[in-house]
């Protein structure tokens, strides 16, 4: 395995050492995956630095600027968190589905549809203008989750009944969701011909830190909203599902070996539909929290690709619900930095490089690398 691809007469054969790859026969220690993830990020930063240098930039100044723009003050930390909230929720949605090896690429669409469902509560209106905030939040979470769940149910049932590839169906449903929202924005809920709805009443807003500035002066101007609490609750719930519920056990078993699951009497079709629905519901809550916590109206541009970045977040966190939180904050920082840095493609490039190094690092979880002297090996 070690020398595949090297020709017999290759000059590398004259090198006194060679690299041997061996499958790991023992489980690596617990810290090792975490270490690998951090190492991947570090290597990604180095690769990024190289590209920045070639492009004529100063990488260290750029990184310093990114760090300052995202973590430099209480204000920007708060902004970073605001960006991280939808990533956490979407990342959790993907984590749940990916654990069963259901490739839900449709979190973006479920996000949009969740935003629609939450907006419908205000704009239809389902609740009177004067309803208390807690009732608004509860109803909007419910409808956001419900709409997301429906958006997950469709590819789920198609997969369970007709074995339709969920990658394609969820991806396509993203476009339907955006167009669906556009219809309501343009035609039904438009405000004076603009492509957006009217502003939601204050009691339909998620509480923000700045709302408590009267009690705690430090919170003045901080936009971190109640969605953070929702995301943290969701992380705990997903962890409980995966590791402390029978259903979670079924998900993990189906994910690792569907035939073994069948043999153990577990219904794969039922779990496919359920997991897609819950995954969709969590992504829907992400849309709700963005609408009600940040935008405060339904409009077209509500997501800079949160649904897709969430996939990366889930992978980087190695599908661990609690690791989603720090990883989302890192990516929130990169999104925020995108506003500050020109060209704004640099943080996007960093996203991509991190993903590549990360996927590559998985290899090291399975294989040892040993460097041996040539004579010794032969």
């Amino acid at each position: 395995m070690a020398e595949q691809g090297l020709g017999r007469g290759s000059f590398l054969n004259r090198f006194p050492y060679r690299i041997v790859l061996e499958p790991r026969l023992k489980q690596p220690p617990r810290w090792y995956p975490v270490f690998l993830s951090l190492l991947s990020v570090a290597i990604a930063l180095l690769i990024g630095a190289l590209i920045l240098t070639i492009a004529g930039g100063d990488p260290w100044a750029t990184y310093a600027y990114i760090a300052k723009a995202s973590f430099g003050s209480l204000g920007v930390i708060s902004d970073t968190l605001v960006k991280a909230i939808p990533l956490m929720l979407v990342g959790l949605a993907c984590t749940l589905a990916f654990r069963m090896k259901l490739w839900n690429i449709g979190a973006e669409g479920q996000f949009f549809i969740g935003a629609f469902g939450a907006s419908a509560v205000v704009l239809t209106p389902l609740l009177p203008e004067t309803a208390p905030t807690w009732l608004y939040i509860a109803t909007m979470v419910f409808f956001g989750a419900l709409c997301g769940a429906i958006w997950g149910f469709i590819p789920g049932i198609l997969k369970a009944r007709f074995n339709v590839n969920e990658v394609i169906s969820t991806l396509m449903m993203n476009y339907i969701a955006v167009s669906w929202n556009n219809y309501w924005i343009f035609a039904v809920w438009t405000e004076g011909g603009f492509q957006m709805s009217r502003m939601f009443p204050k009691n339909a807003w998620l509480p923000r830190l700045t709302d408590f500035a009267a009690q705690v002066p430090l919170f003045r101007g901080l936009t971190t909203h109640f969605g953070l609490v929702l995301a943290l609750i969701a992380a705990v719930v997903v962890w409980l599902i995966l590791y402390r519920s029978q259903w979670g056990y079924e998900i993990r078993l189906v994910g690792d070996n569907p035939r073994a699951a069948q043999y153990a009497g577990i219904s794969i079709a039922r779990n496919t539909v359920l997991v897609m629905m819950i995954s969709g519901a969590i992504a829907g809550i992400a849309g709700m929290s963005e609408i009600s916590g940040v935008v405060h109206r339904l409009q077209g541009a509500i997501s800079p690709g949160y649904g897709f970045t969430g996939i990366i977040v889930a992978w980087l966190a190695k599908l661990n619900p609690f690791a989603i939180i720090p990883v989302s904050i890192l990516f929130g920082a990169l999104i925020l930095a995108g506003r500050e840095i020109q060209p704004s493609g640099i943080p996007k490039m960093m996203n991509g490089i991190i993903l590549v190094t990360l996927i590559a690092s998985d290899f090291l979880l399975r294989y040892h690398i040993r460097i041996v002297r040539r004579e010794e090996a032969e």
């Binding site: 026969l25 023992k26 489980q27 590791y243 402390r244 519920s245 029978q246 259903w247 979670g248 056990y249 993990r252 078993l253 690792d256 070996n257 035939r259 073994a260 699951a261 069948q262 043999y263 153990a264 009497g265 577990i266 219904s267």
Partner: protein
């Protein structure tokens, strides 16, 4: 120049002293094999006897550890199947290697150098049409492979080899996937090929086919030749069966006398299809009582897997009933059988029996996760699960660093212990054990045998499906024989000759009535 004698056709392949060792198995032990020009030479033996290994060596897939191969009198050493094909030797495997979305002609041309750039398909279509007609094979060269039946796909594989100029064809159990009418057509084609001077090696374990088609027979057993190049005329089925199965019993187990109780499993007139939708079970009747082991003998692929699948609920029956403890569980969910106390040691440990990346804990609770104390309400009690796993690890001697280790890191014997621990700890009423010792070393085999006997003595009804006849006879209280989806008969005195005959398609009544006149 030496002229070949007219009575003895020229020997074109001669294998001498072929030895091939795999980890833990001596697959071929000094095997000699000759092939003459224009003959059909059957290679007979049970599964694991070393037939496929020997032919894979001839076809260039494996290299022998020792021995020589002469083709047309010249020593050869093939490093790849391509070299073997260049020497005129082509092998047709049981699993076809075809591209479903391409046409017949395209599939035959794959890998050839000839159509360099411009692909004039219709010219090749005609060429292949002519070739197929020459050997009496009906194939439409323009058809796409996905539209074709298994029999037609096999013809493409044959054409592929003929098109490449193969004079020697190795066919690895070609009839295993065919319907009876297709078998006749295949035999017709084989005769047409030998008439043109091509030679065929026909790997099989079906006696009647061997008697029907072959000129000479070589029988392998446990990697050794028990009959080399015997003329098919004048050899009896009984003799072939004995050569193939052998008769010595090597196991010597301490077994308490059987004390059968109530009927636990009753299978009535069961019919079911295999994965290719051909009938695999054709009216099976069985009965197993408490405290009894029923062994099911048979050459692989005669319906054993389908029977285990239908009883455990993994496969739908077309007709008939499966009763466990008097309750009809035919075509019910798998979980219903599990609740009725059906446990199942599957044939395929890594793909069915375990989840390789999950921990020992997660694997041993696979059937207990939704019952107290591990499952309560919707909760999964992780602490109870690891206590349970730790207990099983100790009592079943599962060698693993800890219970959090993913089971893919365990050895075969330990993996089987994980499965046994799980299946036995549920105190099953009925246990379906499929090939429970395959691939294990002697020590592990003994452990498995002891666990099965302990279950029997504790009152479980056990269906033991195995291809190891010695194992079946040593462990079972009764041995039933399955052949092409039907039970041929049942013995309880370990009569190997009778079992061997039934395994190759004779009914017990026929055997016994044939014996009477001789006294």
């Amino acid at each position: 120049m030496e002229q070949p004698k007219p009575t003895e056709p020229e020997v074109i392949v001669s294998m001498r002293g072929i030895t091939k060792r795999f980890p833990g198995v001596l697959a071929n032990d000094h095997v000699d094999f000759d092939l003459r020009m224009g003959e059909i030479h059957a290679l007979l033996g049970e599964n694991g006897a070393g037939k496929s290994t020997l032919m894979n060596i001839l076809a260039g897939l494996y290299r022998p550890d020792a021995g020589t191969i002469l083709v047309n009198g010249r020593p050869v050493s093939f490093a790849s199947p391509r070299e073997a094909i260049n020497a005129g030797i082509g092998m047709i495997h049981q699993h076809f290697m075809l591209v479903p979305s391409m046409t017949v002609t395209e599939n035959i041309l794959i890998g050839l150098e000839k159509p360099r750039f411009r692909l004039n398909l219709s010219a090749y279509d005609r060429e292949i049409q002519a070739l197929s007609e020459r050997f009496g094979m009906r194939v439409d060269p323009r058809a796409h492979v996905w539209q074709l039946s298994v029999g037609e796909q096999q013809r493409i594989e044959i054409l592929k080899m003929l098109y490449r100029g193969a004079g020697i064809l190795i066919m690895d159990e070609p009839t295993a996937v065919l319907a009876p009418s297709e078998v006749d057509e295949l035999f017709h084609t084989l005769r047409a090929m030998t008439a043109e001077g091509k030679s065929i090696i026909f790997i099989s374990h079906k006696l009647h086919e061997v008697m029907q088609i072959s000129d000479r027979v070589t029988v392998l057993r446990r990697g050794k030749v028990t009959a080399g190049g015997r003329s098919a005329e004048g050899i009896t089925r009984e003799e072939l069966a004995r050569l193939m199965v052998g008769r010595e019993v090597i196991f010597n187990l301490q077994k308490k006398p059987c004390q059968p109780g109530n009927v636990v499993l009753k299978v009535e007139d069961l019919w079911a299809d295999n994965d290719k939708l051909l009938p695999a079970l054709r009216g099976v009747n069985l009965e197993i009582r408490q405290g009894e082991i029923l062994g099911l003998a048979g050459v692989a692929g005669n319906g054993q897997r389908e029977l285990a699948d239908v009883i455990t609920g993994l496969r739908k029956a077309r007709k008939g009933r499966v009763l466990v403890g008097g309750e009809d569980i035919t075509n019910q969910a798998v979980s219903k059988g599990i609740r009725r106390g059906v446990s199942h040691i599957p044939e395929d440990r890594t793909h069915v029996g375990t989840a390789p990346n999950l921990s020992v804990t997660d694997n041993v609770v696979m059937k207990a996760y939704n019952r107290a104390p591990i499952g309560r309400g919707w909760l999964f009690n992780a602490l109870a699960a690891s206590n349970y796993a730790e207990e099983l690890r100790k009592s079943y001697d599962i060698v693993a660093p800890n219970i959090e280790t993913p089971v893919r890191l365990l050895s075969g014997g330990n993996l089987q212990r994980v499965i046994l621990a799980r299946e036995i700890s549920s105190a099953p009423a009925l246990m379906i054990a499929m090939q429970p010792t395959r691939g294990l070393d002697v020590g592990a085999i003994e452990g498995v045998h002891r666990l099965l006997l302990a279950q029997r003595d504790a009152g479980a009804a056990i269906l033991l499906i195995s291809e190891e006849l010695e194992e079946l006879i040593a462990l079972s209280d009764r041995v039933a024989v399955i052949y092409e989806g039907q039970i041929m008969g049942e013995v309880n005195d370990g009569n190997v000759d009778e079992i061997g005959l039934m395994m190759t398609g004779s009914r017990q009544e026929q055997i016994r009535s044939a014996e009477v006149p001789h006294g």
